[in-house]
């Protein structure tokens, strides 16, 4: 029981920290909202200019809901700790974790979920407001089962994103000026997860390629559950694939960190 205490403490610390900065997160969503607005204006103009009712397999209401929700979800699952890890590695802050009885991975994941708990609260309120508006405007059908599956897939999405960024963080062991790679990776994940455009509008080849990658399970898949464009068996197999990716990425991150730790020389501190 005592062993769990330290993880609980880390979780609560991160939770308190996020509580302190909850307006920051809300402001982050609002300023991120501009690109969502641009997206909505673009789609409105596209649907006005096109004679078709359905473009790339989406109706107008579906694509607007997709644009809004994908923006919110991508903000929710975002990692943002990679800079701290790089700093720990560069300045030797990691050394204390070697001596202390808490594993760095466990420390990071507890603090990640502590932060996300508060943000999920903010997003859930926002989600209820948004969905009420959408249902009012378009009479959009939404079942309880869908919402449950959506939340489960978001949880998996967070895990996948955490592991992706935790793995890439290990690059700081070999590259000292790693910030550019991090921001590039962040933007790459943003694109490939379907946060800007739904992944299937760029043709079948692109959709097939991205189905073999973990990124689409971070944003694209959860949002599609809410849109109601997936059958039950598709949702279940998607959730299973998310679990598979979590396992694969766990192994990858372990390998990356093990080989990185061999290089670690504990400068500074």
């Amino acid at each position: 029981m005592k062993a769990l205490q330290k993880y609980k403490r880390t979780y609560i610390l991160a939770l308190q920290n996020a509580m302190e900065y909850r307006t920051d997160f809300l402001m982050g969503i609002i300023s991120g909202g501009f690109i969502i607005l641009v997206q909505c204006f673009l789609w409105t103009a596209v649907f006005r200019s096109s004679p078709q009712e359905i473009i790339n397999g989406y109706t107008y209401s579906q694509i607007i809901i997709y644009s809004v929700l994908s923006g919110v979800v991508s903000k929710l699952v975002s990692a943002g700790f990679e800079g701290e890890i790089a700093n720990d590695i560069k300045t030797g802050g990691l050394s204390k974790f070697i001596a202390q009885p808490i594993h760095y991975f466990s420390y990071r994941i507890c603090s990640f979920f502590g932060e996300k708990t508060v943000q999920t609260g903010v997003v859930l309120v926002l989600f209820v407001v948004l969905m009420t508006v959408f249902i009012q405007i378009w009479g959009f059908p939404l079942r309880v089962g869908q919402i449950v599956m959506f939340l489960v897939s978001i949880l998996f999405g967070m895990l996948i994103n955490f592991l992706l960024f935790y793995s890439i963080s290990a690059l700081a062991f070999i590259i000292t000026e790693v910030w550019g790679v991090y921001i590039a990776f962040n933007q790459g994940v943003y694109l490939l997860s379907g946060a800007i455009f739904p992944l299937n509008i760029f043709g079948d080849t692109f959709a097939t390629i991205s189905s073999y990658l973990p990124f689409q399970y971070v944003v694209f898949f959860p949002v599609k559950i809410i849109l109601g464009s997936l059958a039950v068996h598709e949702i279940v197999s998607g959730l299973l694939l998310q679990a598979v990716w979590v396992t694969v990425l766990l192994v990858i991150s372990k390998l990356a960190w093990d080989s990185g730790m061999k290089k670690y020389v504990a400068v500074g501190g």
């Binding site: 641009v38 200019s49 473009i55 000026e177 790693v178 550019g180 590039a184 455009f197 760029f202």
Partner: protein, 270 residues
């Protein structure tokens, strides 16, 4: 406000020394340069996604054809190169100068304080991919649209880009000046900063009221739209005059606001 020629010459000379200074910095820390290059290239791709999307759709959106759309994206990319190369690093550091008291040091220098703050650093990494991609897009779209590449077109386009650059400087420096009062940079900067995203797409996709605000009140839409609008011959008489008037007004506003702010400044640190 009397400006002497020798003062201008001094400031221009200093700008080139600052630029050289930044270049030396990059040569010393090459990793920083490559890091920036990689990052900006990926960001460039996320802009190209929009071009791919529009071409794949293949229809005119609110009267703008895909080729014309590429003119807008190309101009946007060139403007990003100018902004990131000349202004961004300086603007981001600005509130730090107030917080850490380095502004006091700058005040003692025999140069205009606003000039020191605005042009101390030049970024060489970010503009490279953007300039290459932006100019390529403009040239390709220009050819496909069959616009005569006459001297008047090229010179006019460069002229409007210059006008846009001045507007960019003014509009994006303005929120930073608020740091004189708030000391810490806050979300308000972020929000105005993110308005830049509206330039992602031609202004014709926005409702009329938003276009008007973005052109005449907070001229953020001016930045990429005016040069493009000039190229695709959509310029009316009123917009034509605005190209000359907007940079003058915005520069004046930012200058007056700056003077007002400096008067309020009471060395925060030390």
């Amino acid at each position: 406000m009397s400006i002497r020629l020798s003062e201008i010459r001094k400031h221009v000379r200093m700008f080139f020394i600052f630029a050289k200074n930044s270049l030396v910095g990059y040569m010393e820390y090459k990793a920083n340069f490559y890091s920036g290059l990689i990052m900006e290239t990926v960001f460039l791709f996320s802009k190209l996604i929009y071009v791919i999307f529009v071409f794949q759709l293949g229809i005119e959106i609110n009267g703008i054809s895909p080729d014309q759309m590429m003119i807008f994206t190309g101009t946007y990319t060139i403007m990003i190169a100018i902004y990131t190369g000349l202004f961004m690093d300086n603007f981001y550091r600005f509130s730090g100068h107030i917080r850490n008291g380095t502004l006091d040091l700058y005040m003692t220098k025999p140069l205009s304080l606003q000039f020191m703050i605005s042009f101390r650093n030049v970024n060489y990494a970010f503009p490279i991919p953007n300039l290459i991609a932006g100019i390529t897009m403009i040239v390709v779209a220009w050819r496909r649209l069959g616009i005569e590449p006459s001297f008047i077109h090229v010179a006019g386009y460069i002229g409007v880009i210059l006008s846009s650059t001045i507007v960019t400087y003014s509009v994006l420096l303005l929120p930073q000046i608020l740091a004189f009062w708030t000391v810490k940079s806050g979300s308000i900067f972020d929000i105005i900063d993110k308005c830049w995203d509206f330039n992602n797409m031609p202004m014709y996709i926005y409702p009329k009221w938003l276009q008007r605000i973005g052109l005449y009140v907070v001229p953020i839409l001016f930045i990429t739209n005016m040069p493009s609008v000039y190229l695709i011959d959509r310029l009316d008489f009123f917009l034509g005059i605005w190209i000359f008037v907007a940079p003058v007004i915005s520069l004046l506003v930012v200058r007056l606001f700056w003077k007002l702010a400096v008067r309020h400044y009471e060395s925060a640190s030390s």
